[in-house]
């Protein structure tokens, strides 16, 4: 497997008692690219991301993240934004800032405070009192304030209004480290297409396509959104 790729997997399988979520997935995600992990609901996107972030253990196959099996070393270089809010409800914002600073040497607290201030979020506010949308923004700021090698964003714009979507995409583009990879999993293609360098289509737990966005547009003459609709027609 290519140890220069930020993510490298071969024959990756994840079986639950009720379902085979990943069925022999083989792919490589290069460094320094914004990659879209695209597929319909239940195709295995979240399962793959959770395996890369170390929240699940594979049933079979090989997976390397930054040259390491998912573990303490890979978690140091990966910044993960899940679909759900994972913050300790009882904490204040400054508490969670302190926690990120404590555990992640690459966390840029000044940058995070600046972004929070621009959004009008008071660090002394309790997370419990915030709306779901505000908590999601706090989470996004925490994740993007890390100078990580890999950002894993699981459905970052699902369930938010169009203005918030633009804000989120702008935050992602203007804050990730230059040589880092951003892997965004989503089924909202048309919104995200403009920021992507590369796409991976995933279906029934397997990769069906990996291509640069330029290649799709120039050689196939379609947008990614159109290709997606063709590929995953019901």
């Amino acid at each position: 497997m290519n140890r220069d790729a930020i993510i490298s997997c071969q024959g990756l399988q994840k079986r639950y008692s009720y379902k085979l979520a990943l069925n022999g997935l083989t792919l490589e995600i290069p460094r320094g690219r914004i990659v879209g992990l695209l597929g319909p609901n239940g195709s295995g996107k979240t399962t793959f991301i959770k395996l890369v972030s170390g929240l699940l253990t594979p049933t079979a196959g090989e997976l390397l993240v930054g040259g390491h099996r998912p573990g303490v070393e890979s978690k140091r270089i990966v910044s993960y934004l899940p679909e759900r809010t994972y913050l300790n409800d009882w904490m204040r914002v400054e508490g969670i800032l302190e926690m990120f600073s404590d555990f992640y040497p690459d966390f840029n607290e000044a940058k995070a405070r600046d972004m929070l201030e621009r959004l009008g979020i008071n660090p002394k506010d309790k997370l419990k009192t915030m709306s779901k949308g505000t908590k999601e923004k706090v989470q996004l700021i925490l994740v993007m304030s890390r100078e990580a090698e890999l950002y894993l964003l699981d459905e970052p714009i699902g369930g938010v209004d169009p203005a918030a979507r633009d804000y989120i995409l702008d935050t992602i583009i203007s804050n990730y480290s230059e040589n880092a990879t951003v892997l965004i999993s989503t089924h909202l293609i048309s919104d995200i297409e403009k920021v992507l360098d590369e796409v991976v289509f995933i279906k029934n737990g397997q990769m069906v396509l990996q291509s640069s966005v330029d290649d799709i547009r120039e050689n196939r003459g379609v947008s990614v959104d159109q290709l997606f609709r063709e590929e995953f027609r019901c």
Partner: protein
């Protein structure tokens, strides 16, 4: 990293438990005050019963709450949504488990110490503390006559057994909750089921162990223990109880560690 995790554990649990400890100590003081005032205002005698009842209720609540806070913290912080944050920190699962075990043990011991302190506070100034050595001497003579063992030895055995079993119970709950994460959509139910099964296993093994010990010492498991052998029998039961608690505690810890390190499947 362990130190940092322990810091956040204490922050998260202390904010709930410290006020309870404060209330318990305060209540001890209030009862003490009640006893003092009662001497000067006999009409307050009726309130004594109410105060004592409230005090006992608060004591029971303190122990129950201390247990609940520690167990629910494990569930909420590792198996629920917060687990997505905790298990993506660059920290081994075993370190998470160790941090929670250390903190829950400290809280279990602190609850017992605060309860004792509160009792002393309740009796201070009413001659309870000055009368204590005399009362202990009387109890010592009485218990030695019945059991062949002094009161201080009996108290020490009881205290030690109680504290170790508190820690073992915490670890049994941790393992039950770790097993519970396999119960997709029914995590709490699976945890409760696992707890009941583990309880049955612990009780069964303990009974068998006691039976075997009786066989070895020549005591009749089903009959009465002769008076002369009572002290020895008690020491054996206590030692066995402590030994088994330590053994089970280690097994539960290793089990939780294995599941969280190798079989993590956060929903």
């Amino acid at each position: 990293m362990l130190g940092k995790l322990i810091k956040y554990e204490f922050k998260a649990t202390g904010r709930l438990l410290l006020p309870v400890y404060g209330a318990l100590l305060l209540m001890g003081g209030v009862v003490n005050l009640g006893l003092t005032l009662q001497g000067k205002l006999p009409v307050l005698k009726f309130a004594q019963g109410v105060l004592i009842f409230a005090y006992v209720a608060l004591m029971v609540a303190a122990f129950a709450l201390s247990f609940f806070v520690v167990i629910s913290r494990f569930y909420k912080n590792l198996i629920c949504d917060e687990g997505y944050l905790m298990f993506t920190l660059p920290v081994k699962a075993s370190t998470h488990l160790l941090a929670k075990t250390v903190v829950s043990t400290v809280w279990s011991l602190t609850t017992a110490a605060v309860a004792a302190g509160s009792l002393l506070l309740m009796g201070a100034g009413h001659g309870v503390i000055s009368k204590l050595p005399g009362a202990l001497r009387m109890a010592d003579a009485a218990i030695k006559g019945e059991l062949g063992m002094g009161v201080s030895e009996l108290l020490l055995w009881t205290l030690f057994t109680f504290l170790i079993s508190m820690v073992m119970t915490n670890l049994m709950c941790y393992l039950s909750i770790s097993i519970g994460q396999f119960g997709r959509g029914h995590r709490i139910l699976t945890s409760v089921g696992a707890y009941l099964v583990l309880n049955v296993v612990v009780q069964s093994i303990s009974t068998v162990a006691l039976l075997i010990s009786c066989l070895f010492t020549g005591l009749d498991f089903f009959g009465d223990v002769p008076i002369g052998q009572l002290a020895g029998f008690l020491r054996m039961v206590f030692a066995l109880s402590i030994g088994l608690s330590v053994f089970f505690g280690i097994c539960f810890y290793l089990g939780s560690n294995f599941i969280l390190s190798k079989k993590l499947n956060l929903e």
